[in-house]
């Protein structure tokens, strides 16, 4: 009898301890970036009336979307422990392709062709990485230069004007107050979430990122899965290229210089680990939104554009330093 009470007390303390641990984990250790985004939005909304306006919120959603779309694919490739630096070149080439092909073969066929082009170039990246067996970092760096050159050669270094009203509507229009680009991004995230969560290849992507050798021993076709991940990047980058051309009403090869680093920054800020196997799409989406909110706030407070470089860098390094400390803390809690 006595021992039972002691046991019960022990169970209660254990429950209490786990409960506090759970609360601490949810409040502080999990969803860090989501909490930070929420905090930033609340503070900015209270402090600045302009921040709360519909136009400004639309603007933030629009700005976050281009990085966000690219981040969906980049999350997949980083989870598989790869990386794709060629997205800026790929985006430029897709934009140039839609601007060149659209007037000639019609908008809908051109869009389909460009999406196929994105898939083909993604597969090309994947083939170079898997068949030549080089680190993805440097192989895709080389491919970026090649794509940039292709886009340049196609346009002879010119800016191509794009006068399709339909494409412009896609880039700038809104539906029920929400930018269409943002809705496209949400659709991309839903599809990619489905792939990552519910398909075999999605599970293989995670498996390869966690432990490539073990996956190989388990009989997975490593190369095929990696090429699949690269195709996912190529596909969503082509979408981003089409939409950006719609927004700008023009396309040129260097329309997305530095895009790869902004996308990777959003993915990393969202908690996806560069060492593979771990990461969430929702985190990347939040990361893209977070950068858009921060940049918007800096603009609003009249902080010069140059400071934005500094803050972007600081946010990134701080987030990762926090992440490293967090990992240590989780280790402490588990023991």
């Amino acid at each position: 009898m006595k021992s039972k009470i002691v046991e019960g007390q022990w169970a209660l303390t254990l429950l209490a301890r786990h409960w506090t641990r759970g609360v601490i984990q949810v409040l502080l250790l999990q969803y860090t970036i989501q909490w930070m985004l929420l905090l930033a939005i609340i503070v900015l909304g209270l402090v600045n009336a302009n921040f709360r306006t519909m136009a400004n919120i639309q603007n933030i959603l629009l700005q976050s979307s281009f990085v966000g779309i690219g981040a969906a694919g980049m999350t997949m490739i980083i989870i598989s422990r790869g990386i794709d630096l060629s997205v800026a070149g790929l985006l430029g080439l897709s934009g140039v392709a839609i601007a060149e092909l659209g007037p000639r073969i019609g908008m809908v066929p051109a869009t389909i062709v460009v999406l196929c082009l994105g898939v083909a170039l993604g597969a090309c990246n994947g083939l170079v990485v898997t068949k030549i067996r080089v680190p993805a970092f440097i192989a895709t760096l080389g491919m970026m230069n090649i794509y940039l050159a292709m886009a340049f050669i196609w346009t002879k270094g010119q800016v191509i004007a794009m006068e399709s009203t339909r494409l412009r509507y896609l880039g700038t229009g809104t539906l029920a107050g929400i930018p269409l680009v943002f809705l496209v991004m949400i659709a991309v995230y839903i599809i990619y979430y489905g792939i990552l969560r519910f398909t075999t290849y999605g599970r293989y992507i995670r498996a390869i990122g966690s432990n490539e050798i073990a996956s190989q021993m388990a009989g997975l076709h490593i190369d095929r899965v990696k090429i699949f991940a690269f195709i996912l990047v190529g596909f969503c980058t082509a979408i981003a290229g089409i939409l950006l051309t719609g927004l700008l009403s023009s396309a040129n090869a260097i329309m997305a210089t530095g895009y790869e680093l902004r996308v990777i920054a959003a993915v990393i800020l969202g908690g996806t680990s560069l060492s593979g196997g771990r990461g969430t799409l929702i985190g990347s989406l939040t990361g893209a939104l977070f950068f858009a909110v921060i940049n918007n706030a800096l603009n609003m407070f009249g902080v010069g554009a140059y400071w934005q470089y500094v803050t972007t860098g600081l946010v990134l390094v701080t987030a990762l330093a926090i992440e490293a400390t967090r990992q240590k803390l989780i280790g402490v809690f588990r023991t």
Partner: protein
């Protein structure tokens, strides 16, 4: 029977195989030299003006500035890291050197710029080693921060260097007909080559890059080595910033965009493996020249500048394929010998 005993006393394979590898190592840079010669000869056959002294000197200057950054980057890659902030560092230090020249004597200005570069590198190293942030993210963040600082420092304006003929000599000066930037690059090359190949520090860097866990177990102070290597990379970027400002004599905060990727590319084209553990300094030097010669050739043949992207990309993929082939070959030779 006798052959068996011979092989026991003196395993034939062991003797021959390292020789084969040494032989291959010796000709490691031959591919680059051959390509260099092909481009030079080919271009000068089409356009004889390519071989004018002034054109060759320009190419040498471009190559030297690029090579200096490449040497630092090679060190980082040997340690299995890389530094994405070198382009921004080059811009910031070029601007700092230019603005310091107006108030202090030249050597102090140069020293100031180099120290700033060292500081940036050391901060990179500390963030990577002490805060456990991966080099990719740490230097990506630093790239953004330093770019912002460079633009803030110059307020987005250009900085003009006026009335410093002795500073311009860093670029236009010649010793026995050899342009000064090349001599600076050669000097840096010798120092860093010796540092990598023939000092304990260099061997430690290779050890950390080759197998980090083993290096820790062997008692190497990884953190100090990391900070030192990134400090070196930063200082090399600063040196290239000084050289660039003496070439241009008008600088701004937007210099050196994309330099980090070029520097990594020349290290890899030069034969330094991204898997870490070994570096090829002469290869980096040659690759810098190859890229500069290709750019010079495109310029003089009036081919649009954007074809250089194609050249860089194709060269990179080619070099990687070659590296893979070489690693497979070495692995096979070593396997057969054992």
């Amino acid at each position: 029977m006798s052959t068996d005993r011979d092989s026991l006393i003196q395993p034939a394979g062991v003797r021959q195989v390292p020789f084969l590898i040494l032989f291959l190592r010796f000709f490691e840079n031959l591919g680059l030299i051959v390509m260099l010669i092909i481009v030079v000869v080919g271009t000068s056959l089409i356009e004889p003006r390519f071989l004018t002294v002034i054109n060759l000197i320009n190419i040498a200057i471009t190559a030297s500035i690029m090579a200096v950054v490449g040497f630092g980057m090679t060190f980082a890659i040997v340690m299995q890291g890389f530094d994405l902030s070198v382009g921004s560092t080059q811009a910031l230090t070029a601007c700092i050197a230019a603005s310091l020249l107006a108030i202090v004597p030249m050597p102090v200005a140069i020293l100031g710029a180099l120290l700033i570069g060292l500081l940036i590198g050391v901060v990179n190293g500390v963030v990577i080693a002490e805060l456990n942030v991966p080099p990719f993210v740490a230097t990506l963040g630093m790239m953004s921060i330093v770019r912002g600082v460079a633009l803030l420092y110059t307020k987005g304006q250009s900085v003009l260097i006026v009335g410093h003929d002795e500073y311009a000599l860093l670029n236009t000066g010649k010793v026995l007909g050899v342009p000064a930037p090349f001599i600076i690059a050669l000097g840096t090359f010798v120092v860093l080559f010796v540092l990598l190949r023939h000092t304990p520090f260099g061997r430690h860097v290779c050890a950390v890059g080759g197998n980090k866990m083993a290096a820790i177990s062997a008692g190497l102070k990884i953190n100090i080595i990391t900070v030192a290597v990134f400090g070196l990379v930063g200082m090399m970027a600063a040196l290239s910033g000084v050289m660039l400002s003496s070439q241009l004599m008008i600088v701004d905060g937007t210099l050196g965009v994309g330099l980090e990727l070029k520097a990594i590319a020349i290290s890899v084209i030069g034969g330094t493996s991204l898997y870490g553990g070994s570096g090829n300094m002469p290869g980096t030097f040659l690759a810098a020249f190859l890229l500069a010669v290709i750019n010079g050739a495109l310029n003089i043949l009036k081919i649009p500048a954007f074809y250089q992207y194609l050249a860089l990309g194709a060269l990179l993929i080619f070099a990687l394929a070659l590296d893979t082939l070489r690693r497979r070959l070495f692995a096979r030779i070593l396997k057969e010998s054992s």
